[in-house]
Amino acid sequence: MAKTVEANVPRKARSQMGEVWHQFRRNKGAMVGSAIVLIIVFVALFADVFLDYDTQVVGQNVAERLQWPSARHWFGTDELGRDIFFRVLYGTRFSCSVGLVAVTIGLVIGVTLGAIAGFYGGTLEEVIMRSTDILGAVPNMLMAIVIVSVLGQSIWNLMLAVGITSVPQFVRITRAAVLTVRNQEYVEASKAIGLSNRRIIFKHILPNCLSPIIVQATLRVASAIISASSLSFLGLGVPAPSPEWGALLSGGRKYIRDYSYMTLFPGLAIMITVLALNMMGDGLRDSLDPKLKK
């Protein structure tokens, strides 16, 4: 047996997660982003520990309505005298779940369909892509109105509505990515060792299509939160008085000229979340992709 001497091992072996983490840690932007995301998640999870929902979040105090930010009310108060800081803080819970769940719905359905279309091709692809076109042609608002009105107004249906409208994009992106990976030799290799198509798709193709999907998903979280706010205008948002950010934004619209802080802070909250998610998403993409490592 030819046993080559193994000199100069290029890199210490690490576990897969360890490897991803190691790469991730080196990316400063990603670390900052994930730190913010962690804080946001923490706030979302424990909002009810810091805040009493009934009194601090939805409790009204008309005497103190429409106050500009001050030491007492950091972000000011709204038209019903509720503290906007508390509402924004508590709203993390709703907005993050709207963003995440909606994107997850879009992701699961879209990626599955996109992968099937890209992998099998032919008539199946044609059917999936045409259906995607059809779904994509129906305005998001209409879709949302119907889903929310047929199923009833609730945060879950809102998530479903926003989620379904993001399906077409995920289908298209996934399909495009799958098409490039499909012809790689390792896909053929897995066929040669007797893998079923399903396993080839889920074990080999999809993991290698992640980066455009991750980028899309993180961007999509932002638009999901913003869509939720658009739906609030139409009265299809999260039921009142839940302080979902989109609802806060739409509620503050009337007051934008005189009490701009009412839209500023929820807007900033969305912006920071979105930026953080994207920084994290970019980092994740880079570290999940071993090829990018130097």
């Binding site: 080559t4 001497v5 193994e6 000199a7 100069n8 290029p10 080196r26 130097k294």
Partner: protein, 336 residues
Amino acid sequence: MEEQKDMVLEVENLNVKFVMEEETVEAVNNISLHIKKGETLGLVGETGAGKTTTALSIMRLVDSPPGVLECDKLEVCGQDVMGMSITELEHIRGGLVSMIFQDPMTSLNPVFTVGQQIAESLERHEHLNKNDAWKKAEDMLELVGIPRERAIEYPHQFSGGMKQRVIIAIALACSPQLLIADEPTTALDVTIQAQILQLMRELKQKKDTSMIMITHDLGIVAETCDRVAVMYAGKIIEEGNLEEVFNHTLHPYTEGLFNSLPNIKNRRSKLEPIRGLMPDPTNLPRGCAFAPRCNYATDACRERRPELVSFGGTHKAACLAYENPDFHIERGKKNG
């Protein structure tokens, strides 16, 4: 002085590092090269030996960052390339020095016609107007054996061999003094390779261009070069004319290369690969970089870096084993 004038390229102590966040690649270490007018130097070595980096350094085209280039002297036809500004460099590139890249498939811009791509360089360096440049571009195509009508076609309409011809046409368009060919035939089939090598030989003779032929194929070197330099881990470890290096091999690594080649004449001969792998360029051993793989290595080899030493005539090698006057390698024995 007379000799100086004849020198097309002079490189003294070239060092190139790629400095990255976590590690530094020492890609080229202390290389010196001299090429006379009309001469062809073969630069051989395995993947990662630093051949391309050396070539790019001559044109100052190494990506920077991460590349850091240091050099005592870098002159092309007596002009100090190291001290040039970007604009001056842009005049040298494609004018005085040209380069042919390894992969014809990816070296041409897919969205411009081949004519445009040749003419572009003529417009810049020969200061021709659009029409003249185009005519000359068509002439160049004809010179490399492609009908001039095809100047208006796009690269994807050409086969690999023809693309490589186009690249040669681009490189030779402005009659450079020095042509650097970086593995110009690696991506081609043998029959096409034979055509291209033939073409290059002819053109070189016609224009009396000096050339650096970068390759990992010793067969090509044997057929096209006057002198050879063998690179290993960023250093030249053996240098000399063809006869010297092929028939009087000095360095164990060069010997290893020859032994690894399947012999077309003797198919039963057992291949004798070099053990192991090229060292990690971010972490070169303290001593001779080849020592870990060398059958002749001594303790000294692992401690000290050998210098390139002259062995009479133009033949040089960097190997500490020769400090022992009785040392010679197997192949040396064979060939006398």
